[in-house]
Amino acid sequence: MSQLRAEITRLLTVFQSAGAVRVEADILQPADVLLDLYGEDIRARAYVTSDPLRGEQMLRPDFTVPVVQSHMAESAEPARYTYAGPVFRYQDNDNGRAAQSEQVGYEVFDRGQADAIEADIFVLFHQILIPLGVTASTGDVGLLVAAIEGLTTSDARKAALRRHIWRPSRFQALLARFSQPVRAKALGADGQQIGLRDASDVELRLLQLVDEVAAPPIPQFEIEALNDLLEVKGHLPEALAQLQALAWRLPAIAFAVDHMAARLAALTSAGLDVSQIGFEAAYGLTAMEYYDGFVFGFYAQHAGWPAVASGGRYDALTRVLGQGRDVPAVGGIIRPELTLRLSEGDLS
């Protein structure tokens, strides 16, 4: 236990040396904020408890939300924070994961040049973790967001696709639906008006469904290019080359590809061996819902372990929590129990 304390202190010190201010967060968090943000799925991941006065509370499933909230309330920028403490993950299936584990995190709120900030943070995590023999994987949700924006289709369809980026099977179902002519819908049998949803909203959507039938399908070459984008995978330099080639077919991603190229250049000039860093365009899409740009994780060669560290950009989350305000945000967490075991050579 004292070794774990020492490891946590060591990691906090690294982040504090990088300019981060230590912050705290309550273990008990109001459930409504987390539920509104993550949806029903969080109940399968977080311990929910309640008392008669405060109602539903959750045992902190992560630090990101309370740290963003306290930043948005105080708002001095740019800001760098570090924190440490236990997080709690409810186990709906017996997958051998610990219900309580330690996290040490680092979050940066900075309106400066995005690629440089992302590179800074990744370099810091890389310096801490690579000596432990882990491998790095990265991705960039911004590429997919840009590709959707560039599709030849209606704003409503783009919004529907964007909404399901993190649910790949639903995303593919929507893409398949939008890639062919839509047949007129057989409507349901009518009934007495009940519930909060207005009759006018039903009427409005019925009109929109008529428009849908008239909407031209998304061109096949765009669908193919989008699926090719999701397949991009390799070490950073080759993945970048694949993406640059793909940008001829998907001009909308050119800006996001340039962003990635700039980030890669920054990593190279910081002395990282980028040929050893993995990249997957679809990386993190199932596990990390609130990330909407650069994402990363560090993995040990050991089956059953979660990522030793993970993080990314989550601008949209600050918009949701900021009630009208937002701030570019990048951060990540390290699991000190795992880094400790790696440094002791314990892979059990």
Binding site: L35, N93, R167, K185, A189, D190, I194, A199, R205
Partner: protein, 225 residues
Amino acid sequence: MIKLGVPSKGRLMQETFDWFCARNVHLSKSGSDREYVGRVDGVADVELVLLSAGEIPRELAAGRLHMGVTGTDLVHEKLTNWSDAVEPVAEMGFGFADLIIAVPACWRDVTCLHDLDAVAARFRAQHGFRLRVATKYHRLVRQFMKAEGVADYQLVDSQGATEGAVKNETAEAIADITSTGATIEANHLRILQDGLVLKSQATLWHSKVAEGDCRALIAKIGAGS
């Protein structure tokens, strides 16, 4: 002594008694009709335990019952990794119930989960909270919605009269069990075409946890493998 758990009340109890009786195992309540003590004739060393159908999954998983009769829905809802704890011995052919998702019939534009998901997105944008689905089957419905990729909804707990939740404006949709669909219809609701979460029926389960030899009982009812 093998402990056999059977629902303590109503039609489910009677149909269970009839099912066993057809296989020459006679279950009955002993003492007064109000007393929850039972007896077993036709097979040796089996004790009848009468308890709520909802508690039978937990008792099987804890190994306090060796065998028990309850619905597939309750086992799947109440036991995580249910197949580690119990195994079905026989589907009993009664107590049929489907766990389904239903929406107000006046939502003519909503006939499938794709529509429900689309309406959930606009409902949240308009009302500032997630579309509410009333149910008591939280785990089953959550897993189903996740697998089907429905977002922007929330579950609200409803332990009874769930079909009335939309009319009472405590939910926008429901997930509940139905056998004929009559109650759904009477409450101005309509079942989604692809809204079948689980087909359930009364099932005889064997605890994988309890220690004891159930072979005599299983052989007697002719369900053994």
